[in-house]
Symmetry: C2
Subunit: 359 residues, 2 copies
């Protein structure tokens, strides 16, 4: 394993921790750290007209990506984008209905729809993404690393088949039960598409990548392995894990996947995202140090009184228990109406606890 | 342990399996087996005027409880009721808004609201429940046992504080963070109320009881133990576990609690409900035969083509792996628009597999 750099500061704390190398303190970043809770985000979003326009304009996407790392001493920037850009590039017609979330004009309903799909060329149909990555890297100038990301094949498939969010996943599970071969084909195409998409982000300069499996946790255990874990393993297998001789760590995060961490570690990833329902100590025991762990403060703790927020942050750090291989994060994204002061306090607390002399 | 009866048939298969005694085949019942998917339920519900009126009229609640055990060879009846009857009896004013679910007119917002709460007398303010239990037992005449139930203290608290369903539990977690003592008081009152409510059901004739912890799985692990598991343990501790010398088994079901099964077994219950995301084999390994397991077909499998439904039922049975201590069930309730034929096929498949000679 190549050491990504000897100094532990914002420039490489994240990459070292993801590779389970020693760091001076756990790196901190927060899912949805570039988001609506920041007034500067809301201003830019209003000017952009729509969320998709903001994602698809490298200048704006870059600016939004940088906002939280300017305001807070975060150890990583994460690309501002949406997990549904890949199916959008496949021709499904992504729109966002205000207050209702994403919707596809042309959802996938059967094997004929699957047969018409193609793997998009990320440098053509998704060109705004590598363009944004290059721009962010240039603007960051080594301050901290940039994380690229994608939805997992299963999670993309759920939206593509449901046509929108769902609370029971009846359509996509309907396909699983009635035509498992069609679902398997869809997941194979998506595995190829996600692999190409993440490799394009790596080629453009993403220094770590994360696969968000938002809906893997809705599957029965045996279906999870086959329809969510295995396609993610295929993606991890196909990724370029180094760029210019430096490792590019891969994080896999299945929300609600706490019972399946050993199976997720078998994807070959470097780190696992851990939701707030899973104790880090149990996660560490279950994975036996084979992967780094990223998480896992309950996002609702950002609404707690300051003293209680600090106690909850300390509980997360104590639960991991020290040593290499921990990236501090939430167990899910920052909510849109969180007070930015609370985000600052959360980060400061991680730093303060880490600087505290040992008892 | 007293053997609840020597013959394995509908009259005692469930109770034997919950006590981990040998049975000729796994007993089968389904959460929400008395529900909208049955045309006879919809007819009675329409005549009753409202869901609450149906629950609160022993004659109607009894009839609905019996409908599925008349139609299908199920091994248990489960009381038709709602988990929110207890907070309703505490004076919160339960209503059901069509298409939106339950709502309380007077939710709990702070310690002052908590201080005003009383533990309802189940034989007075909830009298329709023991009355229904007695009536069902009389009508069943020993055909199969009757299961009583209650929501868990934490799950009742979530609805009482949120005032309705929630997707982020911000208010109840807000109370947890801002005034944990108030939440603890609320849970103590609810533990007493749930204990008295279940004991009243047992006294009236319920032969097993189940605690539904629908929302325990939304908590961080350390909060789960304190605010959901511990209050359930207090309830289990206070239950009358025998009636007329016969054991009354207790089932605890935390949806999304797959990672916490050993901690849940420590409540002292006889059996754990298992959701469909948790493999029965892992659950069995994690609990080491200390409790029976109830579950865990994905409710969406009831929409699958018949051959596939049969395969999924067989997979559940194979996952448990045979031997004593399995109660076949779904991992969550029957959906309102499931075809009753599919429910019949599901039950028949459990029976057919169990009668199959060993290979």
């Amino acid at each position: 394993m190549t050491d990504p750099g000897a100094v532990s500061d914002r420039s490489n704390r994240l990459l070292r921790a993801l590779m389970r190398l020693p760091v001076d303190m756990p790196p901190v970043w927060l899912m949805r750290q570039a988001g609506r809770y920041l007034p500067e985000y809301r201003a830019l979003r209003a000017a952009a007209g729509s969320f998709l326009a903001m994602c698809q304009t490298p200048e704006l996407a870059c600016e939004v990506t940088l906002q939280p790392v300017r305001r807070f001493p975060l150890d990583a920037a994460i690309l501002l984008s949406d997990i549904l850009t890949v199916p959008d590039a496949m021709g499904l017609g992504l729109t966002f209905v205000e207050g209702e979330g994403p919707r596809f004009e042309r959802p996938i309903r059967d094997r004929h729809d699957v047969a018409r799909l193609h793997v998009p060329d990320p440098f053509a149909e998704l060109r705004y993404v590598p363009d944004t990555v290059r721009r962010v890297r240039r603007e960051l100038g080594g301050l901290c690393p940039l994380i690229g990301f994608s939805g997992s094949p299963w999670t993309l498939a759920t939206y593509m088949v449901e046509g929108q969010g769902s609370d029971d996943f009846r359509r996509v599970k309907g396909l699983l039960f009635s035509d498992p071969a069609a679902l398997t084909s869809l997941l194979a195409i998506l595995s190829d598409a996600v692999t190409a998409y993440l490799n394009a982000q790596i080629e453009a300069g993403a220094q770590a990548v994360m696969i968000f499996d938002t809906w893997g946790g809705t599957l029965a255990a045996h279906h999870f392995l086959r329809y969510s874990r295995d396609p993610m393993a295929a993606v991890v297998e196909g990724l370029n894990r180094r760029r210019d001789g430096v490792p590019v760590p891969v994080v896999v995060f299945t929300k609600g996947g706490g019972a399946w961490l050993p199976a997720l570690a078998e994807t070959g990833c470097d780190a696992l995202g851990i939701d707030w329902m899973t104790a880090l100590a149990s996660a560490r025991e279950a994975t036996g140090g084979r992967v780094a762990l990223q998480g896992n403060l309950d996002p609702m703790a950002l609404y707690a009184p300051p003293e209680r927020l600090k106690a909850e942050v300390e509980a997360v750090l104590a639960d991991f228990g020290g040593g290499a291989g921990h990236v501090f994060n939430l167990g899910h994204g920052v909510r849109p109406d969180v007070d930015p002061e609370q985000v600052g306090l959360c980060i400061d607390t991680v730093h303060a606890v880490s600087r505290r002399p040992l008892p």
